[in-house]
């Protein structure tokens, strides 16, 4: 038999949330172990060298949501984290035109006017609303979701905080907020804009990573999940982590180890050990066992409880709720090593928006149809994608003169339909290849020479993401961001404060409030909860104290 060490706390999974929890716990003086199934840390926030000389951010690819309170608490820049903002982005049309989004306000107005004079003014109203909604929601990200059925003083005070915030908005704004939260991004954009292209450019943020269409109610809220971040305090700005998204995980890892934590890689958790309803540790796949009275799972809630926990330890209702928790694979990725920068004939040479996020979708209907395809288990023949070439800003991603492109594709089904049968096993080399070809075809709309510049492409289906990262169905949010799965409903009603039916066991990943994105908020909130429950709440300074 292998090791049998004892710790104060064990974190299962070295994703960015798991590492964040581990950092806070270690800084509070706990003896903490992180176990990770892969030979590297980071989960879906990784930089990997899959083609000689190139670094792929091969899962998550841009940074904005990472809470700055956490960056500050854990001093991540000290451990090498540097976020470089990018400016603007563009959507290219089939007929050779484009709409460029620029962070320079006047430039943006001029560009919008090129498509619709009406939309120039509409944009002012639009961005005001979105920023207001972001401001409203941000204070909730680093707070626990109150349990509305509870009469505990903490829950009541959290509820009162919510009521106070809501009341502070005033009647009119409150009405707008209620409406915004329950609208579809499509309807919301239709209310403001008239240009199909402008609408399509913005709409992507409402559907990325979800199993919803642009006209599904609730997607306006998802938009916030992509807008409420910031880079150095610039709300809504996005950036690249220098060296790829792995830089975030590596900084967290370094912080953790400096605080005395230990990471064991290469073998995943086989079973969470439970005795008399209490967590006692983990048994790894390689036979090692580690013991601790606190066990935090960074795995999604389905994987944690349906695969790695003995069902006898869980109430039936809880298991049922976990089973019905929706984690749907809806996106794929292409990571491409480029011999040289592809040409974008539509754009002026050296246009700054080429360094930002680029799309090729022209209308909301086109996006909605792509969703309809996904519902039937197909990838869209006309897919939506979010494409970036980070090596233009961060030369460390590729050899000199060469480039790296990341293409996030929405929608790709997990259970692919072939001949009337839907199954993950339908993702074969052949179907993966045709999926990639389909994306390349559409990429040519923006850069016709993309195929000839491609040296290597890594195709990632939801199944690949599940296999590599461990995310159920490859869902990037560890669970759909719909209202039945947010706040006090996330992940399971009654267990929305990182706790589980097993005493001492916690859920610290994106399955928990406030959900996915490289935000680290669930991990930090969970750490705060754990420290509170162990009476160590005041041991560290900073946010979690």
């Amino acid at each position: 038999m292998g090791q049998h060490d004892r710790y104060d706390a064990i974190v299962a999974g070295a994703g960015h949330n798991g590492l964040t929890t581990a950092c806070y716990l270690a800084k509070a003086g706990l003896k903490v172990l992180v176990v990770e199934k892969n030979d590297w840390i980071g989960g879906a926030a990784v930089s990997r060298s899959l083609h000689d000389g190139w670094t792929y951010s091969n899962c998550s690819y841009v940074c904005s949501l990472l809470r700055r309170e956490i960056v500050r608490d854990l001093e991540l820049p000290k451990y090498g984290l540097q976020v470089i903002p990018y400016e603007g982005g563009a959507s290219f049309t089939r007929d050779g035109d484009y709409f460029a989004y620029m962070s320079d306000h006047d430039a943006l107005r001029r560009e919008m006017a090129r498509h619709s004079a009406h939309d120039v003014d509409a944009y002012e109203r639009f961005s005001q609303t979105v920023i207001r909604q972001c401001r409203f929601i941000r204070p909730f990200l680093l707070r626990n979701a109150p349990d509305p059925t509870s009469i505990k003083p903490r829950d009541i005070s959290e509820l009162l905080f919510l009521v106070k915030q809501a009341h502070g908005l005033g009647a009119k704004e409150l009405g707008e907020t209620l409406r915004f939260w329950s609208m579809s991004i499509g309807d919301f954009l239709d209310e403001h804009f008239e240009s199909d292209l402008i609408k399509a450019h913005i709409a992507g943020a409402g559907i990325i990573g979800t199993g919803l269409g642009v006209y599904s109610p609730g997607t306006a809220y998802v938009l916030l999940h992509h807008y409420m971040g910031d880079v150095d305090g610039a709300i809504g700005a996005w950036g690249f982590a220098r060296g790829g998204m792995g830089a975030i995980s590596n900084a967290l890892g370094a912080c953790f180890e400096e605080a005395g934590g230990k990471i064991v890689m290469g073998s995943g958790v086989d079973k969470f050990l439970v005795k008399d309803g209490k967590a006692t540790g983990v048994a790894l796949e390689n036979g090692d066992e580690y013991y601790a009275p606190i066990v935090a799972s960074n795995m999604d809630v389905k994987r944690t409880f349906l695969q790695h926990t003995g069902q006898e330890h869980l109430p039936e209702d809880f298991t049922k709720a976990v089973k019905r928790f929706k984690i749907r694979g809806s996106s794929g990725k292409l990571n491409i090593a480029l011999d040289a920068l592809p040409k974008f004939p539509a754009a002026p040479k050296g246009a700054p928006f080429l360094r930002g996020d680029m799309h090729c979708s022209e209308s909301l209907n086109e996006l909605e149809r792509a969703y309809d395809d996904w519902k039937e288990g197909r990838w869209s023949q006309n897919p939506y994608f979010d494409m970036l070439i980070p090596s233009q800003i961060d030369p460390t991603m590729a050899p000199p003169g060469k480039h790296m492109m990341t293409v996030f594709v929405q929608y790709a089904p997990y259970d692919l339909e072939v001949n009337g049968v839907r199954s993950g096993t339908n993702w074969t080399d052949e179907t993966r290849k045709s999926f990639a070809e389909c994306v390349f075809d559409k990429l040519e709309q923006a850069c016709p020479d993309i195929r000839s510049k491609t040296l290597h492409a890594e195709i990632r289906t939801p199944l690949d993401i599940e296999n590599e990262v461990g995310l159920t169905e490859g869902n990037i949010f560890q669970g759909e961001l719909t209202f039945d799965q947010l706040l006090f409903n996330r992940p399971v009603p009654g267990y929305a404060q990182y706790d589980t039916p097993i005493s001492g066991m916690y859920i610290v990943g994106s399955s928990a409030h406030p959900g996915g994105g490289v935000m680290a908020a669930p991990g930090a909130n969970a750490a705060k909860e754990i420290l509170r429950n162990t009476g160590k709440g005041r041991a560290i300074r900073g946010y979690a104290a």
């Binding site: 009647a171 009405g175 209620l178 309807d187 109610p217 209907n365 209202f483 009603p493």
Partner: protein, 523 residues
């Protein structure tokens, strides 16, 4: 004509207009209802075939009439008689193994118990319980914070919400959590978490989205099902056709002393010094009143008074209202009763659904988003003449079909050929469940959403005047800041389905608006 000044004029003699008028008249006010068509009834009226057979022109079943309103107005009494018969629901399957739903009980048409009967009963009963809780909000004005927390009226409204909260707590933690989980979710997942994707799930999801611009996978559709289940979920066939329902409302109004003027439209609402002062009619006549209520759609209501009486934001909100009608109506006169293999004569008289699975329902919705007709439509059909033989003669029968997900904005427009395509699509679908039914057809009537809009003024031909999405209910129905039936100028009120609590033949919006008007002290 009468130079008299009415206390209130109601524009539109749909059931809500009549309910509003009757409510005011019963409080001693002088009220006149103006209806542009030759008779009252709005969407609840009969349409005659050439042979004289009476078909329900648009709505064909009653399932949400509010008992409180009915009681207040005396509907169902000798003054305003209304007879109904409760129908079972049959979810049809092509193989004849139909599912029969009586209340909360599911069985198979063969008589056997449905294998999922127990699960279904638990699921639907819970939704009915939740619906009853929500229902208490429907007969009050929606809660708001308009006046701030020091305002008595606001506190009163919030008390209604607090009562709901208490009732929720009283259900126990488990139920309360379930309520808070499902209230905003989608019917597709809720159903398929429990049931196999078959005709029973199909019926449940189809009922949630009928008349809505939403597929079962759209979040918010559990709420729309709860709305439908507000009165327990039973489905009533009115004896004498839907026209009988309007007639009952009309009789109730007349009994209360309401004047009804038909065959004249209102061209304009007179506004004097920011107060509603009367209406101008299509024949040039002017009728004066101290208050005006409009049963038209919210935007039309605004335009009748003139956009200049509203702030820019209100106008924009009205322009942005979601009201894309998706339900079309096809009525067929059949030379004899159709035969549905596997279905007894008694069940054939029930409410028949073509919604063999939840996936089928979702697929049917897809094309509507792009202005196309579904290839396999969801249909709710009823043959009222089997229950009420007085509707037709010579052994003939009327088949009334609501075809879901037929877009108002059909690509190419709603011309005769589009209508013919809709009939062909309906018959083609019916043939799968009742082979040979096409040969029985003597006559047909078609009402596309565009026709419904033209006939009734309902915006977009939408059943509920405005989509019953979460973003358009309660405090934000019909729009943020306009939820209290008060509609711009003092004394001008919205009394139709576009106002809280929304559509269906309930009578609640009309009755609530009248009460709000009285409470506001306008009269």
């Amino acid at each position: 004509m009468s130079p008299k000044t009415y206390d209130a004029i109601v524009i539109g003699g749909g059931h809500n207009g009549l309910a509003a008028a009757a409510t005011l008249a019963r409080k001693g006010k002088s009220v006149c209802v103006i209806e542009q068509n030759d008779s009252c009834g709005g969407m609840a009226r009969n349409a005659a075939f050439a042979s004289g057979a009476q078909a329900p022109q648009i709505a064909h079943l009653l399932y949400n009439l509010n008992p409180k309103v009915a009681k207040e107005l005396g509907i169902g009494t000798s003054k305003a008689p209304l007879l109904t018969k409760e129908l079972p629901t049959v979810s049809l399957k092509e193989d004849g193994d139909h599912v029969v739903i009586h209340g909360t009980k599911a069985r198979l048409a063969s008589g056997a118990i449905h294998p999922e009967a127990a699960t279904y009963e638990e699921l639907i009963s819970r939704l009915i319980r939740f619906a009853a809780l929500l229902g208490q909000l429907s007969t009050k004005s929606p809660p708001s914070l308009d006046g701030g927390l020091t305002d008595l009226a606001t506190l009163g409204e919030l008390a209604g919400l607090a009562k709901l909260g208490l009732d929720l707590k009283r259900m126990g933690k488990k139920e309360m959590r379930e309520f808070l989980r499902v209230i905003l979710s989608n019917i597709y997942d809720l159903t398929l978490d429990e049931l196999a994707d078959d005709a029973l799930a199909g019926a449940m999801t189809a009922d949630a989205v009928r008349g809505a611009y939403a597929g079962p996978r759209s979040p918010g559709t559990v709420f729309s099902l709860m709305y439908r289940l507000g009165q327990g979920g039973g489905t009533q066939l009115p004896i004498g056709g839907m026209g009988a329902v309007s007639r009952a409302f009309e009789q109730a109004a007349r009994a209360a002393g309401v004047d009804i003027l038909t065959g004249k439209g209102v061209t304009r609402v007179l506004v004097e010094e920011d107060r509603a002062a009367g209406v101008a009619l299509s024949d040039g006549e002017v009728l004066k009143a101290r208050a005006v209520l409009s049963n038209a759609g919210p935007k039309a209501t605004m335009m009748l008074a003139g956009a200049e009486h509203y702030d820019v934001e209100a106008v924009r909100r009205m322009r942005n209202q979601r009201c894309k009608g998706t339900a079309a109506k096809v009525n067929l006169l059949l030379k004899s009763a159709p035969v549905f293999p596997g279905l007894s004569a008694e069940l054939t008289a029930g409410r028949l659904l073509i919604a063999p699975s939840a996936t089928y329902v979702e697929r049917a919705f897809n094309p509507a988003k792009y202005g196309e007709l579904p290839s396999d439509p969801v249909i709710e059909l009823v043959i009222p003449s089997l229950t009420d033989p007085s509707l037709a003669t010579d052994n003939q029968h009327i088949l009334s079909a609501v075809v879901s997900f037929v877009p108002h904005g059909l690509e190419g427009g709603w011309d005769k050929s589009a209508q013919d395509r809709l009939v062909a699509l309906t018959l083609g679908t019916l043939e799968k469940y009742s082979p040979g039914i096409s040969d029985l057809v003597l006559e047909q009537q078609v009402m596309s959403p565009a026709d419904i809009e033209a006939a009734t003024g309902a915006p977009g031909g939408h059943w509920h005047h405005a989509e019953m999405g979460i973003d358009q209910i309660l405090t934000v129905r019909p729009a943020n800041g306009m939820a209290h039936y008060r509609f711009g100028p003092v004394g001008y009120y919205l009394c139709g389905a576009g106002a809280h609590p929304g559509g269906d033949v309930t009578g609640v919006a009309g009755r609530n608006s009248a009460l709000q008007l009285l409470k506001d002290g306008v009269l």
